[in-house]
């Protein structure tokens, strides 16, 4: 509008344009200050820290080049944390999408008042604080007394020790995460509702069966929402922290937690328990790069499959 035209017209801005710029800056100022002070500033600062041996207790801060990044190669716990995080992501993300789409499809078929009730019920776990979720699942996953194993026993299955057996601790955490799947269901349900019914009519006339309709109409039509859930669930899982920290990393927990040492927990411990903020910053940057890479790949692949209206 005026700003732009005025700016183009000459090197001197009219008083009106100047005022306009003032207003613009005023409105943008929260974000400008915020991103400099709390986002991009810290980002660069942490990049700098990752090349130092910064120790907040002694105040020491020397430039040590890539030593932190090199140290990761020989760091057993780094590898463990990475592997644990990858394991849970690979287990959780596809399961959450599959279960989410199944529940959303059922909701869409049921429709009416009832779907409103179910939606509410499914979303309730999402408003439960992470620490409370952790505390709750410490109780639910207990062996042998916990609800989960009691439920399994009802079907004659002897449940594993979800909290003590290193093989089953991660699957136990995935169960916990699946409990909070409500957000995914609601997003997918909203997308399903927007699929035009005529498409199904036409498909039915062409003789497509239920699976064919699902595969050829439903999935492409909600691919945008599916893709969104894929990205959100992936990044969230890669940054898993609070629930697991509450469950397994008490103030004085010693070992036994390697099976549930997730990446952000490791970053946190290095920074705030071992005071190696330089190393922790390097770890955080590696996570950033990993997340960025995965997101780019997902977008690249997604572009081929995601159907956007109006394209």
């Amino acid at each position: 509008m005026t700003t732009q035209t005025a700016a183009r017209r000459g090197s001197r801005w009219t008083p009106g344009a100047r005022r306009e710029i003032g207003w613009l800056l005023l409105f943008l100022s929260p974000w400008i200050i915020g991103s400099i002070v709390f986002t991009f500033g810290p980002m660069l600062w942490s990049l700098w820290l990752s090349f130092t041996n910064y120790d907040p207790l002694s105040g020491k801060q020397d430039f040590i080049g890539f030593a932190n990044y090199q140290a990761m190669v020989g760091d057993r716990r780094f590898t463990t944390a990475l592997a644990n995080t990858a394991f849970v992501t690979i287990l959780f993300v596809p399961t959450s999408l599959a279960l989410g789409i199944a529940l959303a499809t059922m909701l869409n078929n049921v429709g009416g008042r009832m779907s409103g009730f179910f939606r509410t019920a499914f979303y309730l776990p999402n408003v439960t604080p992470a620490v409370a979720v952790g505390a709750l699942f410490l109780l639910l996953l207990a062996n042998p007394g916990g609800v989960v194993n009691q439920g399994l026993a009802f079907f004659g299955i002897t449940g594993p020790s979800w909290l003590n057996d290193p093989t089953w601790m991660k699957p136990g955490i995935v169960i916990m995460m699946l409990w909070s799947i409500g957000g995914t269901v609601i997003i997918l349900f909203a997308a399903l509702r927007n699929v035009p019914k005529e498409l199904y009519e036409a498909a039915r006339i062409d003789g497509a069966n239920a699976w064919g309709q699902f595969r050829n109409i439903t999935v492409p039509m909600i691919s945008g929402a599916l893709f969104f859930c894929l990205i959100i669930n992936t990044t969230a899982t890669l940054q898993l922290f609070a629930e697991v920290y509450a469950m397994f990393f008490g103030a004085r927990t010693g070992g036994g937690n390697d099976a549930v040492l997730f990446y952000v927990i490791y970053v946190f411990r290095q920074a705030f328990e071992f005071f190696k903020m330089g190393y922790a910053s390097a770890l955080a940057w590696v996570l950033f790069v990993v997340i960025a890479l995965i997101t780019v790949i997902q977008f690249r692949v997604g572009r081929r499959f995601v159907y956007y209206e109006g394209e």
Binding site: F27, S35, N109, Y123, Q239, I291
Partner: protein, 306 residues
């Protein structure tokens, strides 16, 4: 690689009418369809039980004795409301609740107004580099919290707010990329004639934002408000990093302390842990039921694309 802007059920939100769930996609036409629908309802009911049973179990456990927690009964064999009074006597739960309420409301109010202002600027003003700048907003969205965690800690420390409640909410004065993104969609959806009309009336941008844009997007602002209220209430990372004295804890940090400190709950005093879990959870459930449609519609909105 910007996230596709979300299209929002603006009509529903702006007019504030109750969210009416659309009728079933298809009317059941045949017996087969009816049977399928009944099957779906049954399955959904089963999942409802799976989702809700843990809550009931938690509430039930919070009224039991230690020995009864794992007895498999949903109705406690004996009823012990004193678990709650014991817990409150042991720990400054009331103070924690006050802290949590203060922090959550401050965080939600701050982020709602600041994000609205920034979002409005992106919709109202046209200026060179607008899209690039907005791209930067989105980029901030993708940055993992772990990267900024340490410097943010050092900054608040430098400002002298370490070990206070301030870092838990004051960052929200500077808007949040996610909400800027969300609200911008709403402002872009308002007809441009509104701005022009306001200008003709001699309204400056502030007045236009405050008296025209804000009231028209009230529902969207409530979405932002309740989302952040929930986020701030449930956050434990910042309280964990910034708070150290028991009296300054929020409820979540306090619950973590209870889990970790075996002399109160933790370990084998499951009933106290359960009671603490109920205390931290119930306020959010109440908020959820009060603002249900905003939560659900807001969530659905974030996932849909333009």
């Amino acid at each position: 690689m910007a996230v596709q802007p979300g299209s929002i059920d603006r009509q529903a939100l702006q007019t504030g009418r109750a969210v009416a769930v659309t009728e079933a996609a298809e009317e059941p036409r045949s017996r087969g369809r009816l049977v399928r629908r009944i099957g779906f309802v049954a399955l959904l009911l089963l999942f409802t039980v799976l989702f809700l049973y843990p809550f009931l179990w938690l509430v039930s456990a919070s009224f039991k004795t230690t020995a009864e927690v794992f007895d498999g009964r949903l109705i406690p064999a004996s009823f012990h409301p004193e678990n709650y009074t014991n817990l409150i006597a042991q720990q400054p739960v009331v103070q924690w609740t006050i802290n949590s309420v203060l922090v959550s409301f401050a965080a939600a109010i701050a982020v709602t107004f600041s994000s609205s202002a920034v979002a409005f600027a992106f919709a109202y003003f046209r200026f060179p580099g607008r899209n690039i700048l907005f791209g930067l907003v989105i980029a901030g969205l993708l940055l993992p919290g772990a990267v900024t965690m340490i410097p943010q800690y050092l900054i608040w420390d430098f400002l002298g707010f370490n070990n206070t409640l301030v870092p838990l909410w004051a960052g929200n004065l500077f808007a949040s990329p996610f909400y800027i993104f969300l609200l911008r969609q709403f402002y872009l959806g308002l007809p441009k004639e509104l701005w022009d009309a306001a200008k003709v009336d001699g309204a400056n941008p502030f007045r236009t934002w405050w008296s025209v844009a804000m009231p028209l997007t009230r529902a969207a602002l409530i979405v932002v408000f309740v989302f952040e209220l929930k986020a701030a209430w449930t956050d434990v990372v910042r309280p964990l990093i910034f708070l150290r004295e028991v009296g300054t804890f929020t409820l979540q940090r306090g619950l973590l302390a209870i889990i970790n400190n075996p002399s109160i709950g933790g370990e084998k005093h499951w009933e106290l842990l359960a009671a603490a879990g109920v205390i931290v959870t119930v306020p959010m459930i109440v908020v959820f039921f009060l603002a249900q449609r905003y939560f659900l519609e807001g969530i659905a909105t974030t996932g849909s694309k333009g």
